[in-house]
C-alpha cells in the first residue's frame, strides 16, 4: 500500500494505483477528456494535470501512479491556470456549434468548459477544411474532433480493425481514416464503437429521421415499424426515465401518436430467425457440414461486414438466414402486404435499432414477384429515436403503454435476448433442442453462455439427445479476430458460433445512448434476461404467431419460399 496526500487529505491505496484513481477514492473527481480506462491512457488532453510538490512541471493524473509520500494538489493556482488554458486551446479548434450538435448536453468538452466557467476565449478560432461523404452511415466532423485518439484506440484495441489513425504531422495532425483510405473502402464494420466512445460530436451516425417524416407525409405510404430487442433496455436512459419506467410499449404509443400505421416487435422476427437458423443448424449438423468449421450466426451486420473483408474464405460458414431486421422487412412486403391487400411498394418499413451497421444492411435487395426493392426502408438508431421523441415533444414519462399490432403481437423471451451477447445462441439452442428431441429443454439450460466477456470468448458444450454440441460465443471484433485465427489454426473446434460485433452484443451497440466513460452493455443485457425470465413463452417455436405464419405462408422452416425470402447468399 502507498500513502500519499491529495489536496491535504491523506489517502492509502494499493501500489500501482493512478493518481486519478487515488483521488477518486476520496471523492475528488479530477476532470479529464481523453482518458478511457484500459483503452486510452495517453495523457493527450492534459486536462487531468495535477501539481506534485517539489516538481516544477505538472503531471497527468490519469497515467502516472502514486508514490509513497507524494503530495498532490488538484486545484493549485498553477493547475487551475493551466487546465483552463488547455481547455481554451481545445475550444479554439473546436467548432462549438452546440446548438446544432447531436451531442449537445451530452458532450464532455461542453461540460468541462461550462464547469470551468469559460465565458471568454483569448485564442483565435482555427478551423480546417476536410470533406466527408455524408451519405455514409458514419459521419466525422474534423472541426469538432479534439484529437483525444479514443476512436483510434477503440478500433485498434477492442475492434481490431484499425479504421482510424493519426493523420498528418505537426500542427495539422488530426484523426482520419487510416492509410489515407476512403472510409468506404477502409473495411469499417460500422459497429459504431468509435461514436459511442467519442467525448464530443466529432463522430455521429447519419441522421435518417427525415426519411421517416417524408414517409409519414406521404398518404400513399403505410408505415410499419419494428423495434429491436436491445432498444428497450436503453432508449429512455437519456430521457430521464429508469429502466423500470420505460417499457417498450411506451414507444408503441409514441409511434401511434406520430402517425405510424403499424408497430411490431423485432422480437417476433427474431423468433422467425431462430426457426430458420436453428433448423439450418440442425440440418448442417446432420449433413456433416460442421465437422471441420462451425456455422456462424448471421444476425449482426457488423460481424457480417467484418467477415466479408477480414475472412472472406469463411463466408460460406455463415448461416444463410437473414437477420431479424431483414426478415421482418421481407415478411412485411410479402405476406403482410398481401394480407392488407396492398402493393408492397406502399409499405414503408422502419426499424429502430441499437446499431449503425443496420443502416448499411438495409440496402440488401429483395425481389419477390413483381416487387424489386429493399426489405427495409429506413433504419433509425436508439439515439435518433430519442431525438425524434424530443422533437415530437412526446414526454415519455406520461406515455401510456400501447400494445404491439396484430398479427405479430407475440415475441418470446428467446427473441428478447437477441439483444445481448450469447442470446442468439441460447435462443437457437432452445429451439434446436426441441427440433432434435421433440421436447423443450429447461429454458435456462444454456445459461452458462450468458454474460459479457471483455477478453476472449465463452465456450460451452451441450448434450442434445446424445450429440455433444460445442459452441462459442464472442463479442467485440478484436476478440472475434482472435477466435477466427484459433478456428483457422484448428486450435479450437466448434459446431456453432455466435458473433456480435459490439462488446456485450447489441445492448452495447454503436447506436445506443452515449454515457462517456461508462460501459452499460452488461447492465442493459441483464434487463433483457430479466424480461426473458418474466415472459410467458420462452421458446421461439412456441410463438403462436410464428406457428401461424408458417401455416399460412412459409409452410415450414427452410421451405422454398423461406429460402427465397428469409435467406440470403452472402457475397463479398
Amino acid at each position: 500500500m502507498v500513502t500519499l496526500t491529495i489536496d491535504q487529505m491523506k489517502v492509502t491505496v494499493p501500489e500501482g494505483t493512478t493518481i486519478m484513481e487515488a483521488a477518486a477514492s476520496i471523492h475528488i473527481d479530477i476532470p479529464k477528456l481523453c482518458y478511457l480506462k484500459g483503452i486510452n491512457e495517453i495523457s493527450a488532453c492534459r486536462v487531468c494535470v495535477v501539481e506534485m510538490e517539489g516538481k516544477d512541471k505538472l503531471i497527468t493524473s490519469c497515467n502516472n501512479v502514486v508514490e509513497e509520500g507524494m503530495v498532490i494538489y488538484t486545484n493549485s493556482p498553477k493547475v487551475r491556470l493551466n487546465r483552463r488554458k488547455t481547455v481554451s486551446m481545445l475550444l479554439s479548434q473546436h467548432d462549438g456549434q452546440c446548438i446544432t450538435c447531436s451531442r449537445s448536453m451530452n458532450c464532455s468538452l461542453q461540460k468541462i468548459a461550462n464547469d470551468f466557467n469559460i465565458l471568454d476565449n483569448p485564442f483565435k478560432k482555427e478551423f480546417v477544411h476536410r470533406e466527408w461523404d455524408k451519405t455514409f452511415p458514419l459521419i466525422r466532423d474534423a472541426n469538432k474532433c479534439i484529437k483525444c485518439m479514443r476512436c483510434i484506440q477503440i478500433c485498434d484495441k477492442v475492434q481490431g480493425l484499425n479504421v482510424w489513425d493519426v493523420s498528418g504531422t505537426g500542427a495539422r495532425t488530426t484523426v482520419d481514416v487510416s492509410r489515407n483510405r476512403d472510409i468506404r473502402v477502409a473495411d469499417c464494420s460500422l459497429c459504431g464503437q468509435c461514436i459511442t466512445h467519442c467525448p464530443v460530436g466529432a463522430l455521429r451516425e447519419r441522421d435518417d429521421t427525415s426519411m421517416l417524416f417524408s414517409a409519414l407525409e406521404d398518404e400513399n405510404k403505410i408505415v410499419v415499424a419494428q423495434i429491436a430487442p436491445a432498444v428497450r433496455a436503453a432508449w429512455a436512459e437519456q430521457l430521464g426515465l429508469s429502466r423500470e419506467e420505460a417499457p417498450v410499449e411506451k414507444i408503441v404509443t409514441a409511434f401511434r401518436r406520430m402517425g405510424i400505421d403499424y408497430v411490431f416487435d423485432t422480437t417476433f422476427s427474431a423468433d422467425l430467425t431462430i426457426m430458420e437458423e436453428g433448423s439450418e443448424f440442425v440440418k448442417r449438423l446432420q449433413d456433416g457440414d460442421l465437422e471441420e468449421y462451425p456455422m456462424f450466426t448471421s444476425c449482426c451486420p457488423g460481424w457480417v461486414r467484418f467477415i466479408k473483408t477480414q475472412y472472406p474464405d469463411m463466408i460460406g460458414r455463415l448461416s444463410t438466414a437473414k437477420s431479424p431486421q431483414q426478415m421482418f422487412g421481407a415478411v412485411m412486403k410479402t405476406y403482410f402486404a398481401k394480407k392488407l391487400g396492398v402493393d408492397p411498394e406502399r409499405i414503408f418499413t422502419l426499424s429502430i435499432m441499437p446499431c449503425l451497421a443496420k443502416k448499411a444492411e438495409r440496402e440488401m435487395d429483395l425481389f419477390y414477384e413483381e416487387y424489386a426493392g429493399h426489405d427495409i426502408d429506413c433504419v433509425l438508431t436508439t439515439r435518433e429515436l430519442d431525438r425524434m421523441l424530443r422533437a415530437e415533444h412526446l414526454n415519455p414519462q406520461f406515455l401510456e403503454e400501447g400494445e404491439f399490432d396484430s398479427p405479430f403481437e407475440v415475441g418470446t423471451g428467446a427473441g428478447v435476448i437477441f439483444g445481448a451477447t450469447g442470446g442468439v445462441m441460447e435462443a437457437a439452442l432452445r429451439s434446436a433442442y426441441f427440433l432434435v428431441t421433440g421436447e423443450n429443454p429447461d429454458a435456462d439450460a444454456f445459461h452458462e453462455i450468458r454474460g459479457v466477456k471483455r477478453q476472449g470468448w465463452t465456450e460451452a458444450e451441450f448434450d442434445v439427445a446424445g450429440n455433444v454440441i460445442h459452441v462459442a460465443v464472442v463479442s467485440g471484433l478484436g476478440n472475434t479476430g482472435k477466435l477466427m485465427e484459433a478456428i483457422r489454426r484448428k486450435e479450437v473446434k466448434y459446431e456453432f458460433v455466435e458473433v456480435m460485433a459490439c462488446p456485450g452484443g447489441c445492448a452495447g451497440g454503436g447506436g445506443q445512448p452515449i454515457h462517456d466513460g461508462q460501459e452499460l452493455a452488461e447492465e442493459r443485457g441483464s434487463s433483457l434476461y430479466f424480461l426473458d425470465r418474466n415472459t410467458d413463452i420462452r421458446f421461439s417455436h412456441d410463438n403462436p404467431d410464428i406457428q401461424n405464419l408458417y401455416e399460412e405462408f412459409f409452410e415450414k422452416p427452410l421451405s422454398h419460399r423461406a429460402h427465397q425470402l428469409l435467406h440470403t447468399e452472402h457475397q463479398v
Binding site: 491512457e41 495517453i42 495523457s43 493527450a44 506534485m52 517539489g54 516538481k55 516544477d56 512541471k57 503531471i59 497515467n63 502516472n64 501512479v65 508514490e67 480546417v128 477544411h129 476536410r130 470533406e131 485518439m149 489513425d165 493519426v166 493523420s167 498528418g168 504531422t169 505537426g170 500542427a171 495539422r172 482520419d176 489515407n180
Partner: protein, 610 residues
C-alpha cells in the same frame, strides 16, 4: 574622445545565440516522418526572418512562397499553385542578391522536386503521406529494437542483472555492444532537445560491468529440429542463442579456432577485450549451442550437404575478405589487407613492427583499428593515407581522435597512385597524388588532383583498409542467389526457392554494424522457428520500473573516459574506462522515458515478446 569602440554582444544577442544552439540540437533529433511540406514551410519562415529586407525577392518573395505553401497545407491549392511555387522559387534563386535569399528559395525548390508526391497528396486529397515513425526514438533506431528506456530505468535502480536480462531479450551480446556498438539509438535521442543525447552505450557497458555473471534463461522443450549455422560472428551467435532458447538443436560451423567472427578477429583487443567478448559467448554457449570449429563450408563440407543433414541452415559468414586497391605492386611483401592484419593479431600472431614506418590506406573504422594496432606493435611512425578530408572520413569521430592522440599521422587529400617495391619484392613506400577538395556531388565532397607532382610516402608495411568483401563463391555454386557481391535474400532472411536456407548479417547486407548483424540473427531465428512449424516466443519477465516524475533540468552527459594515450599505446588492454556507479545513476536519470511521455505512450508500446 574615442574613435572606435569594442563591440560586445548584448544580452538579447547572447540569448539568441543560445537559442540557435537549442534549435540546432532540436533539428538534429528531429524525428523522421514529419510532413516535408510543413517542414519546408517552417524552414522558410525561419529563412524569411533572416532577410535583411533590402531586396524585393527575399523580402517579399519568400513571404509569398510561404503563403502558397500554406494554401497547399490548408487544402486550398490547385496544381497551378505548385507550378507557381516552383516558378517563384526559381525566380528568387535567380534574382536574389545574397545567399539568404537564393538559398532559402533553393530549399523550397529542392522540396518541390524532391517531395513532389507529398505536395500532390496535399493538393489533390488534402491529406498527408507522412506519419511519425519514431514514437520512442532510441528503440525505433536500434536495429534489434532493444528496450532501451527499460534497461536504462533498471540501471537507475541499480538492477544491473535485470538490465542485462532485458537487453538479452533482443540482443544476446550486451557486453560486446556496451563496448563497441555504433549506437544508432543515440542519434535522435529526445534528450538532445534539452542538452545532449543520453550515453546509451555507456549505460549498457555499465550494466554489463556491474551485473557480474548473468545466466541465460532456460530453453524451451527440445523440438528435435536441427539447425546449422555457418559462421560464428555476431549474427550467427545471436541466431544460435535464440534458436537454442526455442528448443532447437543448434550447431555453429566456425572455420576459425574461436567464436566471435569480426568481434574477435577484426576488432582489436584494446577496443573490445576478448575476455569480455567471452562473457557474452559463454552465456550463449551455456544454453547448449554446439560448435564445430575448423570446419570451412565449401571445403570440408558443402552447404548442400549441410542442408541435407539439418532441418534448416543459416549462412552468416560475414564479409571476411578484403577489397583490393587495384594498384601494381599490391602483392609485394609487406603489403597486407586490414582484414588479414587484424586477424593475425587476433590469432595472437603479432608480427612486431618495431621501428617500422607503417602506412594505412582508408578512412573508415577498420583503418583506425589498423593504425592503432600498428602503434601498439611498436611501429616508429604510423600514417593514415586518405584521399579526402578528415571531415569526410566514415570512421567514428572518437576513433579518429583516439588514433591522433596515440600519435598517428593523418595524411589527407592524398590519393594512392603507385606502390614502390624493392628489387627483392618488399614494399618500399607508396606514391600518392595530392588532391584538392572540390564540388559537392550527391551530398559528398569530391576531390580533384591539384596538378602537383606525386609525393612518396616511405613505409615498410602498407595496410590496405578500403573495404571488405564476401566469400560467396561456394554458396553461389550451390544455388544461393548472389547480387552485386552479396547474398540476396528475401526480407524474411530466406530464399523463396530454397526452403530451409537462410542468410543474414554482413554477407547479406555488405559490411555493416555489429548491431545490424545481431538484429538479422534475431529476425532470422524467429523466421527459422516459424519455418520449422513452431511459434516460440522470446520474452523477459523483468518488470520495468515506473517512470520517475521529477523534473529533468539540463545536466551534462557523462562521456566515457579513456586511459592515458601515452600509457595505452604500450599494450592491447582496453582503452575505455567504464563510468562509475554514481555516474551511471546520474546518466540513467537523464533518460526522458519516451516510452511513457510523449508519442511513445500512444504509439510506442513495448514489445514484451517477439
Amino acid at each position: 574622445m574615442s574613435r572606435l569602440e569594442i563591440v560586445t554582444p548584448d544580452r538579447a544577442q547572447i540569448v539568441m545565440e543560445g537559442l540557435y544552439k537549442d534549435l540546432e540540437r532540436r533539428i538534429e533529433s528531429s524525428p523522421p516522418g514529419i510532413c516535408p511540406v510543413d517542414m519546408s514551410r517552417a524552414f522558410l519562415e525561419l529563412c524569411h526572418a533572416q532577410t535583411c529586407g533590402k531586396c524585393v525577392p527575399c523580402r517579399i518573395g519568400l513571404g509569398q512562397l510561404k503563403n502558397l505553401i500554406n494554401d497547399v497545407l490548408d487544402g486550398k491549392a490547385t496544381i497551378e499553385t505548385l507550378g507557381l511555387i516552383r516558378d517563384t522559387a526559381r525566380s528568387i534563386m535567380d534574382s536574389a542578391d545574397c545567399a539568404i535569399g537564393y538559398e532559402a528559395a533553393n530549399m523550397v525548390y529542392k522540396g518541390v522536386i524532391g517531395f513532389r508526391d507529398d505536395y500532390l497528396e496535399h493538393i489533390m486529397y488534402n491529406r498527408c503521406l507522412m506519419s511519425l515513425k519514431l514514437p520512442v526514438p532510441c528503440v525505433s533506431l536500434c536495429p534489434a529494437r532493444v528496450d532501451i528506456p527499460g534497461y536504462i530505468a533498471l540501471v537507475r535502480e541499480e538492477r544491473y542483472a535485470d538490465a542485462v536480462r532485458l537487453i538479452r531479450k533482443d540482443n544476446p551480446l550486451p557486453t560486446t555492444c556496451g563496448f563497441i556498438c555504433e549506437h544508432p539509438c543515440e542519434a535522435k535521442c529526445r534528450r538532445n532537445m534539452i542538452d545532449d543525447s543520453v550515453n546509451i552505450r555507456g549505460l549498457k557497458r555499465a550494466a554489463a560491468d556491474f551485473a557480474g555473471k548473468v545466466p541465460p534463461p532456460p530453453c524451451s522443450e527440445e523440438t528435435g529440429k536441427r539447425v546449422a549455422i555457418v559462421g560464428g560472428g555476431p549474427g550467427g551467435l545471436s541466431a544460435a542463442y535464440y534458436l537454442r532458447l526455442m528448443g532447437h538443436d543448434v550447431t555453429i560451423y566456425e572455420m576459425l579456432p574461436k567464436l566471435g567472427g569480426m568481434l574477435r578477429y577484426g576488432i582489436p583487443n584494446y577496443r573490445l577485450p576478448k575476455e569480455r567478448l567471452d562473457e557474452d559467448i559463454e552465456a550463449i554457449l551455456a544454453t547448449g549451442v554446439k560448435v564445430q570449429y575448423g570446419t570451412v563450408i565449401g571445403k570440408n563440407c558443402s552447404v548442400s550437404e549441410l542442408r541435407e543433414q539439418h532441418d534448416a541452415v543459416l549462412i552468416s559468414i560475414g564479409a571476411s575478405t578484403d577489397k583490393k586497391l587495384g594498384l601494381e605492386g599490391e602483392d609485394a611483401k609487406g603489403v597486407i589487407s586490414a582484414v588479414q592484419f587484424l586477424r593475425d593479431v587476433g590469432h595472437g600472431r603479432c608480427e612486431c613492427l618495431e621501428g617500422q614506418e607503417v602506412a594505412v590506406i582508408g578512412g573508415g573504422n577498420v583503418s583506425m583499428d589498423a593504425v592503432r594496432t600498428a602503434v601498439r606493435l611498436g611501429a616508429r611512425k604510423v600514417s593514415i593515407v586518405y584521399r579526402r578530408r578528415v571531415a569526410d572520413m566514415t570512421a567514428l569521430e572518437e576513433e579518429i581522435q583516439g588514433a591522433v592522440a596515440e600519435g598517428v599521422e593523418v595524411k589527407t587529400l592524398m590519393a594512392p597512385s603507385k606502390i614502390e617495391v624493392s628489387e627483392d619484392g618488399y614494399v618500399k613506400g607508396i606514391w600518392v597524388t595530392p588532391q584538392m577538395i572540390s564540388r559537392i556531388q550527391n551530398g559528398r565532397a569530391s576531390v580533384m588532383p591539384t596538378g602537383e607532382e606525386d609525393i612518396f610516402i616511405p613505409c615498410e608495411t602498407l595496410v590496405v583498409a578500403i573495404g571488405q568483401d564476401i566469400l560467396y563463391e561456394h554458396f553461389e555454386e550451390n544455388g544461393v542467389p548472389v547480387q552485386r557481391g552479396k547474398i540476396k535474400t528475401e526480407k524474411y532472411g530466406g530464399f523463396d526457392d530454397i526452403p530451409g536456407v537462410f542468410a543474414g548479417g554482413d554477407c547479406a547486407t555488405g559490411p555493416s554494424t555489429v548491431i545490424s548483424a545481431i538484429a538479422a540473427g534475431k529476425v532470422i531465428a524467429a523466421n527459422i522457428d516459424e519455418y520449422l512449424g513452431f511459434h516460440h516466443e522470446i520474452t523477459c519477465d523483468v518488470e520495468i520500473p515506473e517512470p520517475r516524475l521529477d523534473d529533468r533540468p539540463p545536466c551534462g552527459r557523462v562521456n566515457m573516459t579513456e586511459r592515458e594515450a601515452g600509457e595505452r599505446v604500450n599494450d592491447f588492454e582496453g582503452v575505455e574506462n567504464c563510468m562509475s556507479e554514481a555516474e551511471a545513476y546520474q546518466e540513467s536519470g537523464r533518460c526522458l522515458r519516451c516510452d511513457h511521455f510523449g508519442f511513445g505512450v500512444f504509439k510506442g508500446g513495448r514489445d514484451t515478446k517477439w
